[in-house]
């Protein structure tokens, strides 16, 4: 009887869609964009500024055509492993371009609870921008509350609304 219930439960559970492993995604990006050792250095030294936020336009996330699994030569394998180690982010498997490889680490540190659907459908730069703008507004609100003045952040709020709309479109 227990076995039967187990089967029923297993069948009732919605199946998760197949997602390619981090190794597969990164190795495909390495081959497609001809990434080399220099990219690992760039990844290690990557810092996320905020100056780009003012003129931010959400980029489109292009679909990644990748095989179900990937096998690579030893040199490429070492490079892929170095990129995975340097990025230190579980979001790497949702990256579709080298820029997203760079942003996967900072995005994970900003918000480690993002939904896979959002990560698969929204460009990481958009998500990073949303997190940064959201923090900026919170900081401005705190500042305004301390000085008892109105919040001078209409631009940021409208940007956040746009970014939230983009993100929630994927959530739906």
């Amino acid at each position: 009887m227990k076995l039967l219930e187990h089967f029923k439960q297993a069948r009732a559970k919605p199946r998760e869609p197949f997602r390619r492993s981090t190794f597969t995604v990164v190795s495909v990006l390495v081959r497609e964009y001809h990434l080399e050792e220099g990219f690992v250095e760039r990844l290690r030294n990557f810092t996320l500024g905020e100056e780009w936020l003012a003129a931010f336009e959400p980029p489109e996330k292009r679909p990644l055509v990748a095989p179900l699994f990937s096998l690579v030569p030893p040199e490429e394998y070492r490079l892929v492993q170095e990129i995975v180690a340097a990025a230190e982010s579980p979001y790497l498997r949702f990256a579709h371009c080298p820029e997203e490889l760079l942003l996967a680490g900072p995005l994970f540190r900003l918000n480690p609870d993002l939904d896979p659907h959002i990560l698969a459908g929204v460009h990481f730069r958009t998500l990073v921008a949303r997190e940064l703008v959201s923090r900026k507004i919170t900081a401005l609100q705190r500042l305004a509350a301390g000085s008892n003045s109105s919040v001078p952040g209409e631009f940021w709020e409208s940007l956040l609304d746009r970014l939230n709309a983009l993100t929630h479109r994927e959530e739906r």
């Binding site: 492993s21 190794f23 597969t24 699994f69 096998l71 690579v72 030569p73 030893p74």
Partner: protein, 389 residues
């Protein structure tokens, strides 16, 4: 295959084994780490199998396929390339020489058919020679007039002998064993195609030699019966004494060989007879030799009432995997015996029972049931097969 011949790839060849550069993913890397370093020594490659992974000049190579196996199966692995090689080897050689009679058709006519033919002249069961079979068929088969007047001619053997001798020369140019050690794919490619050409030459020489031997042995006989043989080669179908064959439309030179059961009767649990109509039990020369019914038919040992159903045979019946005269005879007999004697009325075995034991029965045989004193049964015109007690 194109990737294997990529000149940029380095390969490791040890004995008959081909080692390719090992590609990595995390699971493979982890598995390699768990293996002791002694497992990667290329010195161990001298054995029959050799290590799975060897490390040569700091690079890992993984064991893949045997070169002899690749040579043997190259026609299936890369048909286009194989055809090209085949054409190159046969360039200028007699390649239109074919058997006087399709080899499978010859087996059917001269080995299988005599087993099922009824003798009229005497009760002794002596073996029929090819001449006897052909004469018997000519007596029983009414050929169209255009075939009876046909005169056979024997193709000249001189060109064929020349072709066999030429191919024997090509076959003698053996490239030797594969180059060993760390080599480029280009080196292997050159050796492989030389070996392939030799192999094709050997095969073609054997084929043409068989054609030549057949022409020399049976040519005169086939010439005398050219009308019948041309008819069979063109139409590919014949039926004599309830035994027959039909050439398959989907496969070249493949046949359905069948034997008719004739009308027979079976008894049910209560001893009531059921008369079953005639049916053709067949096996195909293509694939496993499993008997099936050609016509739409129902029987306790058939699951549905439909054509083309495989007959449910005893578990211990080993359906022959390859075409042979003995295999076909065995399979046809097994199929017919199952229809005749497989159903035990006391056990009601099979997919269905003759008498209704359930209200909802998918197949019933009520329309086959006749009275116990039916004239056909009483007179013995229709034999009741399943009387075991």
């Amino acid at each position: 295959m194109l990737r294997l011949w990529n000149p940029e790839i380095n390969l490791w060849v040890a004995g008959d084994w081909l080692y390719l550069p090992l590609m990595f993913d995390p699971a493979i890397a982890q598995e390699l780490q768990t293996r002791p370093p002694s497992h990667f020594s290329p010195a161990d490659c001298s054995g029959a199998t050799g290590p799975l992974v060897v490390e040569v000049q700091g690079k890992p190579f993984v064991r893949t396929i045997r070169l002899t196996s690749l040579l043997e199966n190259y026609a299936s692995v890369d048909p286009a390339s194989w055809k090209q090689q085949h054409r190159a080897v046969l360039n200028g050689v007699e390649d239109g020489a074919h058997h006087l009679l399709d080899p499978k058709l010859a087996v059917i006519l001269f080995q299988i058919m005599p087993y099922f033919l009824r003798r009229r002249d005497s009760l002794t069961r002596q073996g029929l020679e090819r001449e006897d079979v052909l004469r018997l068929l000519e007596e029983q088969v009414q050929l169209p007039a255009s075939y009876t007047r046909r005169e056979g001619h024997l193709p000249g053997n001189r060109r064929l002998r020349g072709a066999v001798a030429h191919l024997a020369q090509l076959a003698a140019a053996d490239p030797g064993p594969p180059p060993a050690g760390l080599i480029t794919a280009e080196v292997l490619r050159k050796w492989f195609f030389r070996a392939l050409a030799t192999r094709i030459a050997i095969q073609e020489r054997e084929r043409l030699a068989a054609v030549l031997a057949e022409q020399e042995k049976w040519g005169e006989l086939y010439r005398r019966h050219a009308g019948l043989l041309t008819y069979l080669a063109e139409y590919g179908t014949l039926e004599v004494d309830g035994f027959g064959f039909v050439r398959l439309r989907s496969q070249k030179n493949e046949y359905l060989i069948y034997k008719r059961t004739g009308v027979y009767a079976l008894k049910d649990f209560y001893g009531r007879p059921y008369i079953f109509p005639d049916c053709r039990v067949a096996v195909s020369t293509f694939g496993q030799l499993r008997p099936f019914v050609i016509d739409r038919y129902k029987h306790p040992f058939l699951y549905r009432h439909a054509p083309g159903q495989y007959i449910c045979l005893p578990k211990d019946f080993p359906a022959p995997l390859r075409f042979s005269a003995a295999g076909v005879i065995q399979a046809l007999e097994a199929g017919i015996h199952t229809l005749y004697y497989g159903y035990n009325p006391r056990r009601r075995n099979g997919y269905h029972s003759l008498d209704r034991v359930r209200q909802m029965q998918t197949i019933d045989f009520d329309d086959y049931r006749v009275a116990p004193d039916d004239p056909k049964i009483i007179s013995g015109e229709v034999e009741v097969k399943n009387i075991f007690f």
